[in-house]
Amino acid sequence: MGHAPAIRLANLTHAYADGRTALAGVTFAAAAGERVALVGPNGAGKTTLFLRVCGVLAGKRGEVTVAGLDPADPAHRKRLPEAVGVVFQNPDDQLFSASVLDDVAFGPLNLGLSREDAAARASESLARVGLPGFGDRVPHNLSGGEKRRAAIAGVLAMRPTVLLLDEPSMYLDPRGRRDLIGLVNGLPGTVLVATHDLEFVLDTCSRAVILDAGRVVADGDPRTLFADAALMDRHGLEVPPRLAAIRTG
């Protein structure tokens, strides 16, 4: 018998209060340790899917299982923060404390760790994302790349087994983006990345799921999927320059 998947979505459906359907029967699974990219045009349902997986949006039981927990079950939902980490699109939404160290330690303290253990975890996470010595800085004085790293540190400090990254390369300059690729490749556990940045996917993920209008329209190796110009065009995407150069070269 094989291991249970880290993330399993079974006919996941979600409609907003205004009647708009964001997800219409999404089904896929990600194995433990797998790196999966979720790509698609604006409004495809990527962020809604993330919000369902981390339990921010309510839903029906049985549609989502993540790290063995069902976010629709109130008892499971309480245990989700220690199993699932989410890095939101805009790091300013995630860095709400008055100092970087307090922010990174926010999650561990909520998990009930002592101040000493939380501080040790926070310092370790800051060092891991390349921000040692940033603990006393105030979040609004950090650069875009530093904010992104601090937000990731805040999630890593909780040691989740599943990590959800929503548009991680947004707002980053080329150097920040390059550094982030190195960082994401070194992350432990299962990683799900929602992004428009297909070059970023080629550098970090072994599998891509294309979403369009709330449905899975393709699932497979990113190089194969992204090289299919007709598929990309049909779903509001473009062949990444790197693959286009190989085709024309």
Binding site: L51, V56, P81, D93, A98, D102, N110, R115, V138
Partner: protein, 238 residues
């Protein structure tokens, strides 16, 4: 270039080294004393104490003058209207002005001589409810973001030729810009709440900030309390 405002670190000084809990308690005493006095000389004395503390805290003079100017701007109506409408109103108006200046300068001393997270942690240790501490922390954090967004909106308006005038177009545009900021602020509040829940937030305020008290911290508090009590007593009995 970023349009975000910068946040200066507190300069090293005896006040910066003062345990934030004792400092907060001392300043609370001084502010309460300022609010209690009735005579103008006593209010002026409290203002002098506040300025002395600001100088001891090595707060840049420009920041002190800026704060004094801001408070004066706020109390201008009192300073102008009371002397003109009340018999012998000049001295009471000055008393109000000195009290406002003293309290404003004490607040400046508090926020410019320690990082905010230390002051908030100190407030929590002094039994200020966690909800108040968290609301203050979030308000401070997102005020800077709102200010940066307001600056970007202003820049965007100017690059499209908008120049404020006293006409309907200006009022409408300003209203739309402010409305947009508020709507975006509301949406951001939802996202921040979601991010907090995802990291296990259950409403409890936690902080890593640790404090250590020395004899000098307690002595500083005793001195400030003695000054406050002495000035209030002088005001009442002499």
């Amino acid at each position: 270039m970023s349009l975000a405002p910068t946040h200066p670190s507190p300069p090293d000084s005896p006040l910066a080294r003062w345990d934030s809990r004792w400092k907060l308690a001392a300043i609370a005493f001084l502010v309460a004393g300022t609010a209690c006095v009735r005579s103008t000389p006593a209010a002026a004395a409290f203002f002098a104490v506040a300025v002395g503390l600001a100088l001891l805290g090595r707060i840049p003079r420009r920041a002190i003058l800026g704060r004094v100017g801001l408070v004066l701007f706020a109390v201008v109506p009192v300073l102008v209207v009371v002397p003109l409408t009340v018999d012998d109103g000049l001295v009471p108006a000055l008393g109000v002005g000195f009290r406002a200046l003293a309290i404003g300068t004490f607040a400046l001393v508090l926020v410019r001589t320690a990082p905010l997270h230390r002051t908030l942690a100190a407030a929590h240790r002094l039994r200020v409810p966690g909800v108040l501490v968290q609301v203050t922390q979030l308000a401070h954090r997102y005020t800077f973001l709102l200010a940066a967004e307001a600056r970007r909106t202003r820049t965007a308006l100017r690059t499209r030729g908008f120049r404020p005038r006293t006409d309907a177009h200006t009022y409408r545009t300003t209203g739309q810009a402010v409305g947009g900021l508020l709507v975006r602020g509301g949406e951001r509040a939802d996202r921040v709440a979601a991010a907090m829940r995802c990291r296990g937030f259950d409403g409890t305020f936690h902080t890593l900030t640790a404090f250590r008290t020395t004899a000098a911290d307690g002595l500083g508090f005793a001195l400030a309390a003695a000054v406050a009590v002495g000035l209030v007593a002088a005001d009442r009995y002499f």
